[in-house]
Subunit: 401 residues, 2 copies
């Protein structure tokens, strides 16, 4: 659905919509021939399925394996091929850094450089997060004319570098050569614009200063930069949908993507129970809640089928508590599939469930990949899920007379 059309048709509504994202929900059969979702004990989701409609969402497109960024953009109603979040921007977002409109950001690695200037280890032996944090503090001393600079640790050898100031451009080349045994690349402008020339020159100065500060070290004596990007220009979710939207996620990256879309982030502890308490406490302040649950994906990424089954089983036990909040529309889906057998994201469609007033029921009484094949919603692009959900919440006016 085109966002312009949504903006034209959307209207305020007192009905509340709860979007539950079980990260990496979809899967492939495990040892007993069932997927993790099919194998999990999900009496509460099954009950929802029996009164709701099921279907299968395609996050990006046929055969395309989505990253978490595009997977969530699609669930928020954005076409992920139209709106991309750059890698640097996603990394900054993942540590709760709020990118400004003038920021240019890269992902950085500390690396090892030999006496003759060659990269010998692109990851500096995966040095500890503590060491990286110390080195980021050291590099924060570097000053460049009128530019504000942030050097922030992420995890292990990874950090982000943010340049803030007018007339900067992300159209500059990466310094990470992607292989070892060669020197770091020199940052160059990728276009002939004054901004790109200037930014590349600033980055070269910063890299030289960084290497001067690090040169006495045996390990982590170099830095590599890639994924230059700016804050993505996402149209505002609350504005498009005329809604008050809240995001509740334990992991910063998901809060970050929601925040880039203009949702309010509501903080919570690390457990699902605490998340639900927080949503409950804020129930009257918002019309739309995005609840992110990470552990189905984590288990899938680890190739741990049983842990994925358990993560889904665990989620199911909290469904009654969520339903007590009495949302008019409940959506249960994932941002992509993460089959344990593949130990990673995959292109497979994602089982998806909508329950609420005016749902047209199908004949499925269990929530799962096979059941979803014959579900009422069919197979459809994930960025169409929100229009369907919000239609059930009376949030879309009639098109045409």
């Amino acid at each position: 659905m085109k966002i312009e059309l949504i903006e034209r048709l959307s209207q305020q509504s007192s009905h509340k919509t709860l979007l539950c994202v079980l990260d990496g929900l979809g899967g492939l059969p495990g040892p007993a021939g069932l997927t993790a979702l099919e194998a999990a004990a999900t009496p509460n989701l099954d009950k929802l399925a029996s009164v709701g409609s099921q279907g299968r969402t395609l996050p990006v497109g046929y055969g395309i394996t989505p990253g978490s960024g595009p997977g969530h953009l699609a669930l928020f109603g954005y076409d992920p091929l139209e709106y991309e979040i750059g890698r640097g921007a996603l990394e900054a977002t993942g540590i709760d850094f709020v990118l400004g409109p003038d920021d240019v950001v890269a992902r950085g690695n500390f690396c090892d450089i030999s006496g003759n200037g060659v990269v010998t280890d692109r990851r500096a032996g995966r040095q500890s997060t503590d060491i990286t944090a110390d080195l980021c503090r050291l590099l924060s001393q570097i000053k460049l004319s009128d530019i504000e600079i942030f050097v922030l640790p992420v995890r292990e050898q990874r950090f982000v570098l943010i340049l803030r100031g007018p007339n900067l451009s992300a159209l500059v080349s990466e310094t990470d050569p992607q292989i070892e045994g060669v020197s770091p690349s020199v940052c160059r402008p990728l276009t002939g614009s004054v901004e790109a020339e200037r930014t590349a020159s600033l980055i070269r100065r910063w890299v030289n200063a960084a290497h001067d500060l690090l040169e006495e070290r045996d390990q982590g004596n170099g830095i590599l930069l890639r994924g230059w990007s700016t804050r993505p220009n996402l149209p505002s979710f609350p504005k498009i949908w005329k809604t008050r939207a809240a995001a509740c996620a334990v992991y910063p990256m998901y809060r970050g993507v929601a925040s880039l879309a203009g949702m309010d982030v509501i903080n919570a502890g690390a457990s699902l129970s605490e998340q639900i308490q927080e949503i409950s406490a804020q129930w009257d302040s918002f019309d739309f809640f995005f609840l992110h649950y990470k552990y189905a994906d984590s288990a899938g990424e680890d190739g741990n089928f049983e842990a994925k089954v358990q993560a889904i089983t665990d989620f199911d036990t909290y469904v009654p508590e969520l339903l007590k909040l009495n949302p008019e529309v409940v959506v249960v889906t994932g941002d992509h599939s993460t089959p344990a057998v593949m130990s990673g994201h995959s292109w497979h469609s994602v089982p998806t469930l909508i329950a609420g007033r005016h749902v047209r029921p199908d004949q499925q009484v269990n929530f799962g990949e096979r059941a979803a094949i014959s579900g009422e919603l069919g197979q459809f692009p994930a960025n169409e899920l929100l229009p369907i959900a919000f239609a059930h919440a009376d949030k879309l006016a009639k098109f045409g007379a």
Copy 2:
């Protein structure tokens, strides 16, 4: 899927993909209420279906009956509405003529023209291919300044005319009036460009010279030209997909379409057995094999339901031999439906099957139109089939972080 996205995400892989196209595979129920595919004895395809995913492909769009050109372009991943092969170009390709970048080509008919210059039979009584070949040799004598000219027989009264040289244009009108009882039309430029003016003038001179050479004849004393076109500008399949692609087809037109897409054509005899031998011999040289099997379509075109059943039954007996090659991904589909009851192509979707690593199974144990309705792949555009198949072959990197 946009080709730009595929080019960005595609990567080399050691996994091999085998695309089996049973031309005109889809159908409508015959005398016993089953389609030809459902009625055929297909124990091997059924076994593949029971471990694979089924679905239904739409070659061009809802309600659109595809020609063989667009049908195959879609299977090769091109949007057939974006990339068209002109009729002249398709006809030339169908006789193994390799079109050059400077070529302008038309389909020709020999026709009968009366004393007063009126077309009395647009097909010259469907004169024999031998006569047409003789006349093509005769017309090859015509010379036009710096233009190279090819006049090549196709079948019965049909031939192709190719003009090769700089500054030619296909934006010229047809000389075939499409009805009898009127004179052949005079070729005119369709735009004001110098190239179109010049090309139309050259064609008028060629037509006049041809009529002079043919005027003594009782039959086949005129020619009609239509479908002016140039070589289609298809992005290279091997480049888009970073793959070594081979096409094995008995009929020249299918080799031709594959060749226009940049695939290598591997020759084989006229039988499926010989085709499989050839693919086997070349197995290590390619990552992707397109195997074309014509006879399901031929039988459908002839309105011969039993022959179509037999053609599919015959194909099935060779499936074990194909599987012995051990491709990681096997696709079985058609380029369009050819219901025997319609004696021609139709707009109906095409039953489609993917087997391979990481396929999400459905509950179908037979390959057929009805089973495909409840298949895991759903109904989807045929040009999305290859991205799905290649995802299974590890040929598509993750999109976004």
